[in-house]
C-alpha cells in the first residue's frame, strides 16, 4: 500500500487541478457565450414555441452620461450602436482598432461607433497624455483623425520617455492649430471630458479595456475578434429587423 500511496496522492492532486480548471473556465460567464451573444444571455428569439423557457437577454445598461457631445462615427439612427471604452496605450485596444475600422467599412450606415476615454492610470504611463491629445484635437474637430493616428502608431510612441512632442507632431500633420492644441491639451475642458467618460465607464462596471457595449449590452472580450464581432453585429441587425 505504501508503494502506491504517492501515486494515489499525485492522481488526486491532478484530478483536483483539472476539475478546478474545468470549473473555473466554465464559471467565467463570458467564456461560455457563443460569439453571437452579448453577455450574458442568448437571444430570446432563439427559443421555439413550446420549448423550455430561454433566459431573457438582460435589459440594456444605461449608466451615467459621459462627455457630451460624445465622439461618434456613423448615423445617430443606426440600428447597431457600439460604444467602446478604450485606452490608447493598451495593446489589445491597439489590436481592436483595425477590427473596428473593418466593421465600420462592412456595416456602413447600420453601425454607429462611440469612443469613450478610459485611460488606465497608472498602469499605462502615457495613456492620459494620449487621451488628452485626442480630446484636444477633438476640440478642433479632429478627434477621429487623431484617434486613428495615435492607435496606428501605438508601437512608435508607447516606449518613448516624453510623448508630448510626438503627439504635437501628429497634430501638426493633421492640420490642427498647434498653438491652440498646446493650450487645450492641459485645459480643464479636456480633463473634464476624460473624467466624465471615466465616470460613465465606472457606472457601467467597466474594469478594463477594450470594453465594448453593443446596444447597451457588454460584448464578451473573446467575441471581439473580427469574425466573432461580425456575428454579434449581424445578430443585432436581425433582432432589429434590418
Amino acid at each position: 500500500m505504501k508503494r502506491i500511496l504517492p501515486f494515489i496522492i499525485i492522481l488526486v492532486v491532478l484530478g483536483v487541478a483539472l476539475s478546478s480548471a474545468w470549473y473555473l473556465t466554465r464559471s467565467i460567464p463570458a467564456a461560455q457565450n457563443p460569439p453571437g451573444n452579448p453577455v450574458p444571455a442568448s437571444p430570446a428569439s432563439s427559443g421555439s414555441p413550446g420549448s423550455p423557457a430561454q433566459p431573457q437577454p438582460p435589459a440594456p445598461v444605461t449608466g451615467v452620461p459621459g462627455a457630451e457631445p460624445a465622439h461618434t462615427a456613423g448615423p445617430a439612427n443606426a440600428p447597431v450602436k457600439l460604444e467602446e471604452f478604450g485606452d490608447f496605450e493598451c495593446p489589445p485596444c491597439g489590436m481592436f482598432h483595425p477590427i473596428l475600422k473593418q466593421m465600420q467599412e462592412e456595416f456602413g450606415d447600420k453601425l454607429q461607433v462611440t469612443f469613450r476615454e478610459f485611460p488606465l492610470v497608472p498602469t499605462h504611463q502615457h495613456a492620459l497624455a494620449a487621451a488628452s491629445a485626442a480630446e484636444a484635437a477633438g476640440l478642433q474637430g479632429k478627434f477621429w483623425e487623431m484617434h486613428h493616428m495615435i492607435y496606428d502608431h501605438q508601437n512608435d510612441w508607447k516606449k518613448e520617455f516624453d510623448v508630448r512632442p510626438i503627439f504635437e507632431g501628429y497634430a501638426k500633420q493633421l492640420g490642427v492649430d498647434v498653438d491652440r492644441y498646446k493650450r487645450d491639451v492641459d485645459s480643464e475642458a479636456v480633463a473634464q471630458r476624460i473624467m466624465l467618460d471615466g465616470n460613465r465607464g465606472h457606472s457601467l462596471g467597466v474594469k478594463g479595456t477594450p470594453t465594448v457595449f453593443i446596444n447597451g449590452r457588454e460584448v464578451p472580450f473573446e467575441n471581439l475578434p473580427a469574425e466573432k464581432l461580425r456575428v454579434v453585429i449581424q445578430n443585432e441587425l436581425r433582432n432589429a429587423g434590418k
Partner: protein
C-alpha cells in the same frame, strides 16, 4: 529530509494554483484585457507568453505539477525522483530569471501572478539547494 520534500510539495502546489489561474485567465481572455491593477495584459498579450502555440502559464503549471510529483515520490523513498528534482528546479529558476528580465526590460510591465511564480520558484531553489547541503542522500 522529509520536511524538505513536504515543503517542496506544498510550494509546488502554490505554484500550480498560480500557474493554473494564469492559464485559465489567458485561455478565456480575461487577463489579456488591460486593467487598472495589473500589467498582466501586456505580459500575456506579448509574443513571449506563448511557446509553440501553448500558453507559457500552462507549461509552468505542468512544471509545478512535475515538481510536486517528484517531491511526493522522493518523500516515499523513490530515489530517482530525488535525483531529478534539483536539476528541474534549477532549470525552472533560470527560466524565471529570463521571464523576469523580459518583464523588466523588454515588455516593461510586471504581472503580479508571474512575480508570485518567480518567488515560489526561488523558494523551491533555496529548498533544493539546502537539501543538497544538508544531506548526501536526499531520498532519506
Amino acid at each position: 529530509m522529509k520536511k524538505f520534500y513536504i515543503g517542496a510539495a506544498l510550494l509546488s502546489l502554490l505554484g500550480l494554483a498560480d500557474a493554473l489561474y494564469l492559464t485559465i485567465e489567458h485561455v478565456t481572455g480575461q487577463t489579456v484585457r488591460c486593467t487598472i491593477l495589473s500589467g498582466c495584459s501586456e505580459v500575456l498579450s506579448s509574443p513571449y507568453a506563448v511557446v509553440a502555440g501553448i500558453p507559457l502559464a500552462a507549461v509552468g503549471a505542468a512544471a509545478y505539477f512535475t515538481v510536486f510529483s517528484l517531491a511526493i515520490l522522493a518523500l516515499f523513498r523513490y530515489r530517482i525522483a530525488g535525483k531529478i528534482l534539483p536539476p528541474l528546479v534549477i532549470a525552472m529558476f533560470f527560466v524565471s530569471v529570463w521571464l523576469f528580465y523580459l518583464q523588466a526590460f523588454v515588455i516593461r510591465q510586471f504581472c503580479q501572478y508571474c512575480l508570485i511564480s518567480a518567488a515560489i520558484t526561488t523558494c523551491l531553489l533555496v529548498l533544493v539547494l539546502s537539501l543538497r547541503w544538508f544531506s548526501t542522500d536526499y531520498t532519506d
